[in-house]
């Protein structure tokens, strides 16, 4: 699936909820389901700066595609991060750099992107793009 197809799927899933509780329970559930990041990747270098809770992001490349794994101490952030990982994983650096992440706004979570200092979703997106740039540079 393309980045946009995955985004559209998430937007569709969120249309099921008509109140904040359902939405947040779903995000919390995503957080709980996100596989734990291996301890070796929970290192200082993988910590995303600018978050109130610690967020780790690990990236690697397989067959020209970037893959992300992430974790957080806080469950809502973990749920949000899980969506980002789902959207961004298994795409080429070019696709990632070209992407327009409209789903966050569409599912009514834009405030989480704006509150950069408290949950660092924006820092996370930035870091994912930075990895894409880095891997692109490595290849050229």
């Amino acid at each position: 699936m393309t980045i946009n197809e995955i985004q559209d799927e998430i937007i569709e899933e969120f249309e099921l909820f008509d109140d904040w509780e359902g939405k947040y329970e779903y995000i919390i559930d995503l957080g709980k389901k996100l596989p734990k990041l291996a301890d070796e990747h929970k290192n200082q270098d993988n910590i995303i700066k600018g978050c109130q809770s610690i967020v780790w992001l690990h990236a690697y490349k397989k067959d020209d595609k970037l893959h992300f794994e992430a974790d957080s101490e806080a469950i809502i952030v973990k749920g949000l991060v899980s969506m980002l990982v789902k959207v961004m994983t298994n795409h080429t650096p070019e696709e990632i750099l070209k992407s327009d992440l409209y789903f966050i706004d569409k599912v009514g979570l834009a405030s989480h992107l704006a509150q950069t200092r408290s949950n660092g979703l924006a820092s996370m997106v930035k870091q994912m793009r930075a990895y894409a740039v880095a891997y692109q540079a490595k290849d050229n």
Partner: protein
């Protein structure tokens, strides 16, 4: 029962009518900043609408009116702190600015290599970093008074730390993270016995506790207007006259000079020596209205009511299983910090926010304190005189919802 009419007080604060995420706002982040009553908003509008002018230099009507309102505020604050003279009241941008002023003037002039500066584990970053910067520059040594597990300072350890090497003590009056009220009178007296000067960070104390700088015998006392129903960007540094006179000026510019030639400048007298440039006139003018407002309600009445809220909240929150209150000092202001088993403070904050309840989560700018407590942070509800018990009930229900959703 409080002698105050809380419903009437609530009507003085327009923001309390706001809806957040479709709910009535419950504002429990008063330790971060308090809301502003109409009288303060009106004072700001009135100043800009009717007598905005630069002060101290104009001879026209507006300039005189603005100057006199500006200096009225100084007198009001002098009384608020029971300072001996109005020249001892320096206007700053806030507590942080006041502490930096002292570190950069008194500290740089009078402290030298090997001198010791004592702070405490409870300090806000703004009462840590300025002293670290000074220590780095001057080769002074920073020492830290430890706390016990309840969040009280261990004063016996403080006494042991004091020696002829101690030259400065800078301690918080009330902890923003835990609410602990420190025995600053004792701290000041002991420091004076070894000849050290003392600054008290009164950011959290000024709205809850009656402050008498002369009885305390504090050398410096700093606070911020925005934490006592006044505007942001305005603060006060009190300093004893003889000490302020001995200190070199901090920033250079207009207003702080007596005479300027290219060869030499002579400095203005106190308090203007420390108030370079056009000051924050509107906010200084408005703070008088905030203090008058507090005085009208009566600080004792405010404190008694807030104490009632603190007791109620402590009792109600203690009933919640898995909730642990952090900070159980002997004397506290109306601040309750807590952690929930298995739930990160940030999740508590986000879910309460969805319910219209504003609390603070995180390290509260006291990272060394959080490290000492072994916590990544806490959730903190802090109350002001316009808060109510039914609001605390909403917080309790909100926390139950957090548990239901996350666990």
């Amino acid at each position: 029962m409080s002698v105050l009419d809380i419903n009437k007080i609530r009507q003085d604060f327009p923001i309390l009518d706001e809806k957040v995420n479709g709910r009535d706002l419950v504002y429990f982040d008063n330790a971060a900043t308090t809301q502003k009553p109409f009288v303060v908003l009106e004072a700001l509008a009135n100043y800009y609408g009717h007598y905005n002018a630069n002060i101290h230099r104009g001879i026209h009507f507006l300039a005189e009116k603005a100057t006199s309102a500006f200096e009225d505020s100084r007198t009001t604050i002098q009384k608020f702190l029971n300072a001996a003279q109005k020249e001892e009241i320096i206007f700053t941008y806030g507590t942080t600015d006041g502490i930096n002023l002292v570190a950069q003037t008194y500290g740089r002039k009078f402290l030298k290599e090997g001198d010791e500066i004592i702070i405490s584990t409870l300090e806000h970053h703004s009462n840590i970093v300025p002293w670290q910067m000074l220590c780095e520059e001057k080769g002074c040594v920073l020492r830290v008074i430890p706390i016990d597990d309840k969040g009280d300072l261990i004063l016996e350890e403080y006494e042991k730390m004091l020696s002829e090497k101690t030259k400065f003590v800078s301690v918080v009056h009330v902890s923003n993270a835990l609410g602990t009220i420190n025995d600053v009178k004792f701290i000041i007296d002991k420091a004076h016995e070894v000849g050290a000067k003392v600054l008290i960070d009164g950011a959290q104390a000024s709205s809850h506790i009656t402050i008498d700088v002369q009885t305390l015998d504090a050398d410096f006392y700093a606070f911020s207007a925005h934490k006592l129903f006044g505007p942001t960007g305005m603060g006060v540094l009190y300093g004893k006259l003889d000490i302020l006179n001995a200190m070199p000026p901090y920033r250079g510019g207009g207003e702080m000079i007596k005479e300027v030639t290219f060869e030499k400048t002579t400095y203005n007298e106190l308090p203007y020596k420390f108030e370079a440039g056009t000051p924050n006139i509107a906010d200084v003018v408005a703070v008088k209205f905030a203090i008058d407002y507090i005085n009208e309600l009566g600080k004792e009445n405010i404190a008694a009511y807030e104490d009632e809220l603190l007791k109620y909240a402590t009792d109600q929150l203690s009933e919640i299983s898995g909730l642990r209150i952090i900070g159980q000092a002997k004397e506290k202001v109306s601040v309750v910090s807590f952690v929930l088993d298995g739930i990160h403070p940030q999740d508590v904050g986000v879910i309460l926010d969805q319910q219209g309840i504003a609390i603070r989560t995180g390290h509260h700018c006291t990272q060394p304190l959080m490290n000492r407590l072994g916590l990544p942070g806490t959730s903190r509800a802090s109350f002001a005189v316009y808060n109510t018990k039914p609001e605390i009930d909403k917080l309790v229900a909100g926390i139950h919802k957090v548990k239901k959703m996350v666990l």
